[in-house]
Symmetry: D4
Subunit: 251 residues, 8 copies
Amino acid sequence: MRRERVRELLDQVASGSLDVTRALAALSFEPAESLGFATIDHHRALRNGYPEVVYGAGKTPEQICAIASHIAEHGDGVLVTRLPAGAAERLAVALPSIEINDVARTAFLAGADRSPRGLGTVAVVTAGTSDLPVAEEAAVTLGALGDCVSRISDVGVAGIHRVLGKRDELLSASVVIVVAGMDGALPSVIGGLVRAPVIAVPTSVGYGASFGGLAALLTMLNSCAAGVTVVNIDNGFGAAVAASRITHRDA
Amino acid sequence: MRRERVRELLDQVASGSLDVTRALAALSFEPAESLGFATIDHHRALRNGYPEVVYGAGKTPEQICAIASHIAEHGDGVLVTRLPAGAAERLAVALPSIEINDVARTAFLAGADRSPRGLGTVAVVTAGTSDLPVAEEAAVTLGALGDCVSRISDVGVAGIHRVLGKRDELLSASVVIVVAGMDGALPSVIGGLVRAPVIAVPTSVGYGASFGGLAALLTMLNSCAAGVTVVNIDNGFGAAVAASRITHRDA
Amino acid sequence: MRRERVRELLDQVASGSLDVTRALAALSFEPAESLGFATIDHHRALRNGYPEVVYGAGKTPEQICAIASHIAEHGDGVLVTRLPAGAAERLAVALPSIEINDVARTAFLAGADRSPRGLGTVAVVTAGTSDLPVAEEAAVTLGALGDCVSRISDVGVAGIHRVLGKRDELLSASVVIVVAGMDGALPSVIGGLVRAPVIAVPTSVGYGASFGGLAALLTMLNSCAAGVTVVNIDNGFGAAVAASRITHRDA
Amino acid sequence: MRRERVRELLDQVASGSLDVTRALAALSFEPAESLGFATIDHHRALRNGYPEVVYGAGKTPEQICAIASHIAEHGDGVLVTRLPAGAAERLAVALPSIEINDVARTAFLAGADRSPRGLGTVAVVTAGTSDLPVAEEAAVTLGALGDCVSRISDVGVAGIHRVLGKRDELLSASVVIVVAGMDGALPSVIGGLVRAPVIAVPTSVGYGASFGGLAALLTMLNSCAAGVTVVNIDNGFGAAVAASRITHRDA
Amino acid sequence: MRRERVRELLDQVASGSLDVTRALAALSFEPAESLGFATIDHHRALRNGYPEVVYGAGKTPEQICAIASHIAEHGDGVLVTRLPAGAAERLAVALPSIEINDVARTAFLAGADRSPRGLGTVAVVTAGTSDLPVAEEAAVTLGALGDCVSRISDVGVAGIHRVLGKRDELLSASVVIVVAGMDGALPSVIGGLVRAPVIAVPTSVGYGASFGGLAALLTMLNSCAAGVTVVNIDNGFGAAVAASRITHRDA
Amino acid sequence: MRRERVRELLDQVASGSLDVTRALAALSFEPAESLGFATIDHHRALRNGYPEVVYGAGKTPEQICAIASHIAEHGDGVLVTRLPAGAAERLAVALPSIEINDVARTAFLAGADRSPRGLGTVAVVTAGTSDLPVAEEAAVTLGALGDCVSRISDVGVAGIHRVLGKRDELLSASVVIVVAGMDGALPSVIGGLVRAPVIAVPTSVGYGASFGGLAALLTMLNSCAAGVTVVNIDNGFGAAVAASRITHRDA
Amino acid sequence: MRRERVRELLDQVASGSLDVTRALAALSFEPAESLGFATIDHHRALRNGYPEVVYGAGKTPEQICAIASHIAEHGDGVLVTRLPAGAAERLAVALPSIEINDVARTAFLAGADRSPRGLGTVAVVTAGTSDLPVAEEAAVTLGALGDCVSRISDVGVAGIHRVLGKRDELLSASVVIVVAGMDGALPSVIGGLVRAPVIAVPTSVGYGASFGGLAALLTMLNSCAAGVTVVNIDNGFGAAVAASRITHRDA
Amino acid sequence: MRRERVRELLDQVASGSLDVTRALAALSFEPAESLGFATIDHHRALRNGYPEVVYGAGKTPEQICAIASHIAEHGDGVLVTRLPAGAAERLAVALPSIEINDVARTAFLAGADRSPRGLGTVAVVTAGTSDLPVAEEAAVTLGALGDCVSRISDVGVAGIHRVLGKRDELLSASVVIVVAGMDGALPSVIGGLVRAPVIAVPTSVGYGASFGGLAALLTMLNSCAAGVTVVNIDNGFGAAVAASRITHRDA
């Protein structure tokens, strides 16, 4: 309840236009909806032209198709992540203009209003080709949120010349998302090369003592490059939203 | 090696002013120092007026004092984090103008050049009073890096009205650093209240199944608010540098 | 063996209508009851009208159907949880009046005697729609145990207004079961809103660093709201029995 | 701020004895209560006669003494848990009527208003004598919250006759708190003996593969007795508050 | 190399019948096979009438059938554990007198010589019916090793009267193998009831925080009943061999 | 309640010497103490001449001295394990005939009745000298329980000749207790050398990835020698009791 | 790009047969080699005759076949590891001279240039037959890298005579790779037998508390034999490359 | 016992100057050497001029001093690692020529015979200055084993130019030991720069999610540079012995 509304209530009580009991009830039961601020639900992007986001894992192709169609009918955009098997085909039939990305396992349909454009370019960097699905999920999400994306692929630190060769591209990015599995060492190197915000995404790429991405996650949390931040394993979507929070800071 | 330098070498070879053997050697042994870009070392901030950062843990008061004095003599600023017992007293004697923060366990001496000012204000939020040392480390670091800080304390989610009462302050921040131990739930709530970048710092506050901050860390990595990023347990310094990378984006 | 049956046996012995040897055999055949106190076996509810509970995981549809039919023949109620694939169809044929719940993966057939009614209403709250199967297992179990259920769904903390909007419903509940995966933060917020007992159920919803529900489990064990208790990951059944122990306190 | 106080304020505004600005300030000064619902902060008990709770760990004896004295001056009760070394002596001097419990490491001073009495008796059961400090923290907390306590000690399952010999006492309890370290097996046995709510508290008693109480915690979460709920390792305070939520259900 | 053999060598050197160089070589290269003691290979039982043991996991039905047939041709007995799907049918055709146990997933063919008989009876106890496959693996192995087996099933501690009702049977056993998943609490109770050796076998029965049997394993390692020993999760075979080492002590 | 007692009760009911109500009460409330069987409490040995066992960890020297003196006054034996600092001196004064073992950190005073003698000899083997304290705790306990002990020290597998050189001694043991930290590999080798029961005791000796004995514990649970059983980390006492259960099988 | 190719380019520029722009493009097209030092990419072997390495996991048979054919067309060798189902057949058709190893799940096609020969022989030792696939991956990789391999199989420590019987073969090896699952104890024994470098490879062979190879990994890291080094679980390829780095030291 | 000593004994027996019984006793007194192969005990280096190694952790200064003096009296060399507090001073008095290294926490006294010289130079590289104690332990051990050492310090990957600037030094090393804590990323970069064997040593440097070096350990085991091997956390000694096994390959 905003301060003004409380003052208004008190004024009404003072003027006798509101009795104490009803004022008490109003103060006690101010519902959430009157709070009047934007909320960002899980896996759902920001208001004003941003698409609705549907997390596809655990949903049937039928459910996803129904949800996406329902949103599209209202002229809103929709982004589906973690498309389960069979969903792409069904969506392509139902919504012919939807853009399917097989690597990212996403489907995106722009709404009537487009997302506000983010400042600058977000670089999405991968250590190895196996990290591409997570990186593409980030890239597609960024596109849906109105960000420009620059992809830099397969520049893992075991061939350090590869990432050094991309220095210019890295230095020109507003935000750098670094996607890496196995040893997860790439964000430490890039964090030392650039001054822009670096968001590290560990992936579950690897075997044995990678423990499903835990090794890369711990590496990144302990990065010797100060100011690297980390999101959940395989969470390309989350990294993109985090980047978009930065590039849309003034939007 | 930059493309221009390679072209130059090739031109010299083409013109005969450089023989093949020496050109080959030059291509093979291009040293690092010619790379010419800024690097951010661990626990050391950015160039141009930024202070040197000394990680105090594991160093003796004597060592810290010697290092800090050495830096100060050159007119540079210095920030010491994780001050060990006894270091504060010794530093205060050696460098009377150094600012000691007992809660943050930091010492800061500004340099002749001040850090460039960051855009906006960084809110540093704590769930409980036990989280204050980590939050103060972040706040002191932000100050040293040229950022304005807004402190919001003791607004843990078990009394949800507390954080809601700080909504305006949160909404006006450029970046929000959320420091929380125990259940680590606060970043999820704040991530849903604001659109600015949210950096979550788990703390080792708690006992038993908090496992030294692991519980809060996992909570934050799994935040249901999209786009929350995470740093290491108790890493107030890192969160501050990450925020500063955002607020100094165009610096 | 119920106390009445033991008394009956003893009466028969006293009256000479039953000889000692046969009485001894009858008592021995049911050694549990001869100890004279109530026992609650694993995944099996309380005596006197409560249904038998069959844990379906790891059993074949044939086995489940045979067990359920056997129980039903004696006029007793039966609740099957964690129905394996194919079991629902087979049960529906064999016991036409059995109630199948596809989301909860349960089957329930009320017995001739109904469970004693619990005091008040148990609120079953979920953070996200993916938590519904676990919540429904709790809700169906509560119904089978004689409790009234109030469902509050999809009120995760990233949109804090959602749970605040349900405050009245929460405040009127006798017990609140809170089901949440990912960051598991919801019980901390609800534990601060209500004074009734709060039972938190972590779910395996999530990926990466959720580690199969471990993240949510640890969050809940470290809840900053005092007096929140926790059951095993995905254990909707156990939460319901715990709630029923409270609502049937005087039964 | 209690509902009565808000009504009082409103009455004053209605009668003109308080102007709107000062009423607004009063309401704003206590934003929590203006939301109109009870809040339970971490380690702080319920309203209306309940004591304030101070978590002593990490605080100096001086700080604890200052906080407790401050509360006592207002006539409120105060419960300090996890007293650090030296705090007991200092508190005893400052507040002569405070009750120190060396085993529980608690200090309790009743307020002018006593906590409302809980229904029935809460049994606090320990598996071994090493579990007593955690059990006593629970018992002292229960007393401070207005609950009657029945202590049953050293009835670990390796001597199963011990717990069976306490069956009557267990059966007469409203709630049973079971405190056990090492194998943590006792709640499973008691959960099968009684129909009342059972709250299990794992302790860090043990060594080696007890991993600081993790073994007991996992045992309890996997209890084969349905409806046992669990709190954090060594969290006697939390178990007591959970029990009190049950016994004060209608308060 | 045995002391007598060394003395013999030295005698030969002293008498000149062996030169120094060859004596040195003999001392240096005493091969393993001359060691002359029994070895117990992994998943393979003791010599002298004991069957060969084949660990079926990871082998094809064809491989298992070929190995078993090869052993049988020499008149030796063979025990196959962890039979993969399809192996039972194939073995039954190839070796009609082989005994298949579907629950234990074992196949056993006695050899021409039978295993020496163990002393007394080994009780194999299960907490729940889901633990039966592991218990049966133990029971079949014991039979193959010449031990008498007494099965006690479904006596988990949540219904403590069940295990107490089997006290006589337990007290008469030479060794007690206790098989339990979930909370793994049964060995602690039985370890307090009997003075015979107790071998605890954790099973992977359970879900969520049972972590594939880890919870039960830790419980058993921390048993409050002194002198309980533990084998690997689901290792019914190993428990049986351990019991057989005890009952064949003098064999 | 034993079958004979039930029959007796029924006979009394049949003969009219006991009325139904009292018979019902007797059946319902058969107390534990009437069970009449031996119990083995935690860290406390068997009845009949066995000493009482006091677990010293967490007790003050004063407490230990008081307990031990109390037991000694009744002519009973007492074994104190994990003696805290200062307890040995105090015990030596109070009970001059008590045997202090500084390595094992134990104190033992034989009772008027001696423990019955166990069959054969128990070999206590260590991999390295750092494992001696745990081994000595086992050896002292065995002595107190009436077992003969053979010590074999410092025969870790990195010098495989060392354990091979002790083969005869190992083969003559009734039970072999193998104490090893670091890689915990010794029980696998010894389990292959002998046919007697092998009890493996992991120790917390090591650093880094030994994780306080976890590495050795896992090694032993996965021993490739069949029939090796394991106790908790550093639990020399438990291994000794387990061995004593074997050697006193017929006692 | 090999050093010879760079020299060739430079020669062409010097002689005027290649202009600077095209030379620059050629160098730029392969930025890695332009830095002039050898790089070892992940799962890719050394320069000069070494085969390209393709990590097959997660690739389709079609993709693998296309990549391998592409490499083969240039006359280069190719080694594919972790062949997915169906890839072997397809490769055999496309590249008839490729060598498929079903146990190792590898395919190898030698290039026109053979790898330089390594010094001495690398022994590849397994503890059990289940470890063979990992050992064969190492052996095939060694062959592809130009090393001689000596295989020693099924010499686990539970039958210690087996490894002792292979002492001569072990002592003659330049490097010893030891592959073991379950308890992972073999490297400790072999590390004590030989003075050559010992590389330990834990495997995921086992169940229960082997935790997918974690137990063997920890054992090896804690080896009581000094100077044993370790690679990732199941990483036969990595062990082979490590060995080859030693045997090609002067190459 | 060295081969020469055995030959000497045999010669004496052959010549009659030693009788068989005494020769047998001599051989039995040193059973290890009679097996005729070299053994490397834990934390003890190779024969023939190599020093004895004493692991100082857990030993008193008195014990260490006695052991070292005893060894020195025989003219043998001795290396003490992990010197406890106070041991250095005492050793310096007792053995004035012993070399104390305060950073490495080692003491080394060369023997009459020096260790055979290893081939080439071993580079010991650290990521940060906090890793120096572990690196120095490696360097001192290498010196004691006869290896030349090249130290490269503080070249962590966050300032990638630092390690690139040391490329020549790295390329000229026979073996590279890389010591790194926190993110442990340095071995991946170096493994891609050099073709020599790379031995990675994780350190416990770091806090929070470094979990005592676990993060760095996992990073290194998952290195994207093929052929990097790993030793235990903080195990500088082990890395040195592993390197020495390589450089003394032909010794």
